[in-house]
């Protein structure tokens, strides 16, 4: 068992006059294992991204615990958690997420700036090759298309060979052909041992999944897999 989330709830305080709390997640349990692809489907606003951010440690839940192996991530300091996230988690955010002052290759290398990675450069070149970005390695992000940017952020998420990869709507602005390429590559990452958690509303993503959940009004419903 890689990640266990137990009894997760998340509620926000509304900013308006009413200040009524909104419950986004209620009593959610989830276990993530290595080498599997998890797909969480759901309409926008259903809370699936919130769950992803809680699992990846970017967001703190209102109640419940998230454990990486035996480590309760809420017991860690910000520095320790960041370190853990950098080494063990690959995060593919929604939308454009490249740093504008860096070239494609430097963007892929970005996570190695924090923890250091002796094989960083060769691994980066390997990933660029794998994602078809080698001709663009010295280009700046503003010269790239949407699909290329997406592949860039996947390559970046893989640079430190993480144990788990979280992808938030990784195919949001892509056509089906490019979307399939992205899912294919995430599938490959799982085959080389990582756990992959994908939040999406693309139904065909199920084809690539070992386990499929549907998020409905803050609760997870399993649709496929054990």
């Amino acid at each position: 068992m890689l990640i266990t989330a137990q009894n997760i709830t998340k509620s926000y305080q509304r900013k308006g006059k009413t200040k009524a709390p909104v419950q986004v997640l209620s009593n959610t349990d989830l276990s993530i294992e290595s080498g599997k692809v998890y797909v969480i489907l759901g309409r926008s606003g259903s809370g699936k991204s919130t769950l992803l951010n809680i699992l990846s440690g970017l967001l703190t839940s209102s109640t419940g615990t998230v454990r990486y192996d035996d480590t309760d991530i809420y017991s860690l300091t910000d520095g320790e958690l960041s370190q853990l996230r950098c080494k063990r988690v690959g995060y593919i955010p929604q939308g454009q997420s490249a740093v504008g002052t860096l070239t494609v290759r430097e963007n892929v290398l970005l996570p190695t700036a924090i923890v250091g990675n002796a094989n960083g450069f060769s691994r980066a070149d390997h990933l660029l090759e794998q994602f078809g970005l080698t001709p663009l390695r010295d280009a700046r992000p503003d010269e790239l298309s949407g699909g290329e940017l997406r592949r860039l952020s996947i390559a970046r998420a893989l640079i430190n060979s993480p144990d788990v990869i979280f992808a938030d709507e990784p195919t949001n602005d892509l056509d089906e052909e490019n979307s399939r390429i992205v899912f294919e590559q995430l599938r490959n990452a799982a085959q080389s041992g990582a756990a992959v958690v994908i939040v999406t509303h693309e139904l065909f993503a199920q084809e690539f999944a070992d386990v499929v959940y549907r998020m409905q009004q803050g609760s997870l419903i399993r649709e496929k897999g054990q």
Partner: protein
Amino acid sequence: MSIRKLLFFNIVRRPLRTFALLFICIVMSAAVFGGAVISASLQNGINSLEQRLGADIIVLPESASEKVKLENILLQGTPGYFYMDKNIENTLAGVDGVDKLSAQYFLVSANAECCTVQVQIIGFDDETDFSVKPWLSEAYSGSLGRNEIVVGSGLSTRVGHTLKLYGVECKAVGKLESTGTGLDTAVYASADTVRDLIKAAESKGISVLSKQSPDDVISSVYIKVKDGYDIDEVAANINLGIDGVQAVRTKSMLTGTADKLSVISGSVTVLIIAVWVLSAVIMLIVFTALVNERKREFAVLRAVGFSRRKLGTQVMSETLVICLIGAVIGIAIASAVVFPFSRLIETQSGLPFLSPGILTSLGYAALAFGAVILTGPLASVYSAYRLSRVDTAKILREGD
């Protein structure tokens, strides 16, 4: 890839942002350093002039224009001359409260050998002098011989070299320390030499600016008052007791200059503070405005695994590096203006202007440096805080 490289790329690959911040830092450090050095130079100049004159009272012929002439000689370096009877020196020696006195004789050369400019020649008494010799930076031994001169620091003539005055080769045996005043371009000689010069001029048919010989007349008398005597009282006694002369307190003669100077120093100080405050405010606005623009960039860094502390450090380091570079450039620019052009400032302003020494200047440089590298990071503290607390999850979902 390393944090340092990331920092470098952020600075170099955002040239507009970097230049804007750099410019503010340059203006700020140049203003603080340049202003401080100018203020100090003016203060230095007037202090050195006061010390240099060394006298409590200066006695001149009794006429308003003579006082102005003396001020011009001292402050502007405009050569001038005026005379009174030589016996006055003896009369003055008898005045109660006079400790030391030394007479000087002013002569103006028609031209010197190289340049068609007038040179102020000051004849002084080697034995009684207390206002010239203490300021010799390269001393001569014994007494000043015939055709031997002491030159001000502003003359190019070196010790051991000669200077031709009215065709007479005069050997420079001493050089005075710099005062930042008109005294720097004067030539000092003994009464004998002055007599020779006048003779030489007459024999060459050069119209000497004075037909009066140092045997009969003197131009001014420097007086040091005995301890325990009131300087104003002694001056008043001279003014009342001796006809045809005026005794001026050295301090009061410099008052006009000192007043002018305090106005300028005050304005410079106000200017420094204004530039400082303005730069700080602009920086604060720029940094705060940049927060929104850079939120997404920092959210990405956070998502990739930067801790809050690392994000904050990143912002502060960027600012610090730019401020360091800006401060160095600003100080260099101010130095390139204030130090080489100090003589120009002096001649144009008519104020004594003496650049401070290396150590003092370094002190002011450190002050300007400190002002910039404190102000910049302080102005970016708020933006560093905001950027290190970006709501990563929310910003990354907002799309681009």
